[in-house]
């Protein structure tokens, strides 16, 4: 039996009818076509599918979409301001913080949640935030550098 799901995705009000067993990641990818959120491990262990729910980093594979009712979801597609990349996105490019790029959406969304509450995180704080994220390509160091770089860019843009 389908049930109604109303929530906000990347600033837009969405209303759809879904089977309540549907995971948030399925709604995003398969119902809304937001395929930038990836899905990788099946067991909630890799954080590839991380999105922001009410500003928090949350795994969209481990959450029933119905639990997002009335909440605000931001995905990687909602991060850039029109054609202008978010500083995190630009810093990820400039610092070679991704290779295959499959886990990147999740990494960036987790970093986004971090920078929103901590504008200048230390390396340790970044590691703590991103420890759930598996990347098989980069060895993480360049991701951490990119996030610190993005933090600097964000602060500059605020001044």
């Amino acid at each position: 039996m389908k049930q109604e799901l109303k929530f906000k995705v990347n600033g837009e009000e969405r209303e759809l009818w879904i089977d309540p067993k549907t995971l948030l990641v399925e709604v995003l990818r398969e119902e809304l076509g937001l395929t930038g959120t990836h899905w990788s491990c099946d067991t909630g262990a890799c954080c590839c599918c991380t999105v922001n729910v009410d500003g928090m980093a949350v795994k969209s594979c481990s959450m029933l979409a119905m639990q997002a009712y009335g909440r605000e979801v931001t995905t990687i597609e909602g991060l850039a301001d029109g054609p202008t990349l978010h500083p995190l996105q630009q810093a990820f490019i400039d610092n070679w913080a991704f290779q295959c790029g499959f886990c990147t959406s999740g990494q960036i969304m987790a970093a986004n949640a971090l920078l929103n509450e901590n504008p200048s995180p230390t390396r340790e704080q970044i590691q703590l935030q991103l420890d759930g994220h598996i990347c098989r390509c980069t060895g993480y160091n360049m991701i951490q550098e990119a996030i610190q770089d993005a933090a600097k860019r964000l602060q500059k843009s605020k001044v």
Partner: protein
């Protein structure tokens, strides 16, 4: 990719009363249902097809129960919907129950901590769960409610067996209560895992209370995780320390006792024998840390 293949009816009550009504109604009807808070463990189990309930009751919306409160007399109260993250970042927890925040830092991922709840974690009844050993040494109680009323059980008695808890089918956990830590008390915790944030091969929590001269151990609690069918309180080890001046030798004896009390099984990562050794090592190390903290307390 694995999704949940079996459909279910979904309910999202807004109040505890509504939730309890649903629970008791379904229980009476013999309906196969599951209560979900953050669902960080349960969704996985459903994806794997281990359980396929006809109905899911999401209590995530019971915002009244999303709280972390403290006063000196009553101690810390963690509402059923308080997330791990709320504990990790609570300033009062950091000040008064620092060990809880330390435990949370290494619990799975930030994503899990943001959405998963502390109460949900213990309701899952996983002997490898991070939370239970710490609650046990902090002398915590778990408050539960049903349509018939409320009851409270000590955290150490909450888990009965692998994935089995004292919670009745028609009850919900409503609150975790942790008394104010007595003076001259130090609490420490270590989870030993191969990679950060992973499940423990073994975890040890120790709370030591010293007498007013900070010499004799007037009380001690030792909690073990991942080394038996349930989180465990190592009472024989505690007996060795209680009422004595704690020395390295004495700690070593207690560690041996704790090893004997634990009953770990072989897993893909390590043998039961090795996990037992870890208990010994960490009862000594964590015990020493707790002792240092007690002296400074």
């Amino acid at each position: 990719m694995k999704n949940i293949t079996n459909s279910f009816e979904y309910f999202s009550p807004k109040t505890l009363e509504e939730a309890l009504k649903l629970v008791s109604q379904f229980d009476k009807e013999g309906k196969d249902f599951k209560v979900v808070a953050g669902g960080q463990s349960i969704n996985l189990v459903m994806k794997q097809g281990v359980i396929a309930p006809e109905a899911v009751i999401s209590i995530k919306g019971l915002s009244d129960m999303d709280y972390v409160k403290f006063d000196e007399k009553a101690g810390l109260k963690i509402g059923a919907l308080a997330t791990h993250r709320a504990i990790e970042r609570s300033s009062v927890v950091e000040k008064k129950f620092g060990v809880l925040a330390e435990m949370e830092h290494n619990l799975s991922s930030v994503e899990t901590r943001n959405w998963g709840t502390v109460a949900g974690n213990i309701c899952h009844g996983d002997p490898g769960g991070d939370v239970a050993p710490v609650l046990i040494v902090l002398n915590a109680n778990v408050k539960m409610a049903g349509v018939k009323g409320e009851r409270t059980v000590p955290a150490e008695d909450f888990t009965l067996d692998f994935y089995e808890t004292a919670l009745a089918h028609d009850e919900l956990v409503t609150e975790i209560q942790i008394p104010t830590v007595p003076p001259n008390t130090g609490v420490a915790y270590t989870k030993f895992s191969q990679v950060v944030g992973d499940f423990a091969l073994a975890s040890v929590a120790v709370a030591i209370t010293l007498d007013s001269k900070k010499d004799i151990c007037s009380d001690v609690r030792i909690g073990l995780g991942s080394v038996a069918a349930t989180p465990l309180r190592a009472k024989k080890a505690e007996e060795i320390l209680r009422g004595k001046k704690i020395t390295d030798d004495l700690l070593a004896k207690a560690a041996q006792a704790a090893m004997d009390e634990s009953d770990p099984t072989d897993s893909v990562d390590a043998s039961g024998e090795y996990k037992r050794e870890l208990v010994g090592v960490f009862v000594k190390r964590v015990g020493k840390e707790a002792l240092e903290r007690a002296k400074k307390a």
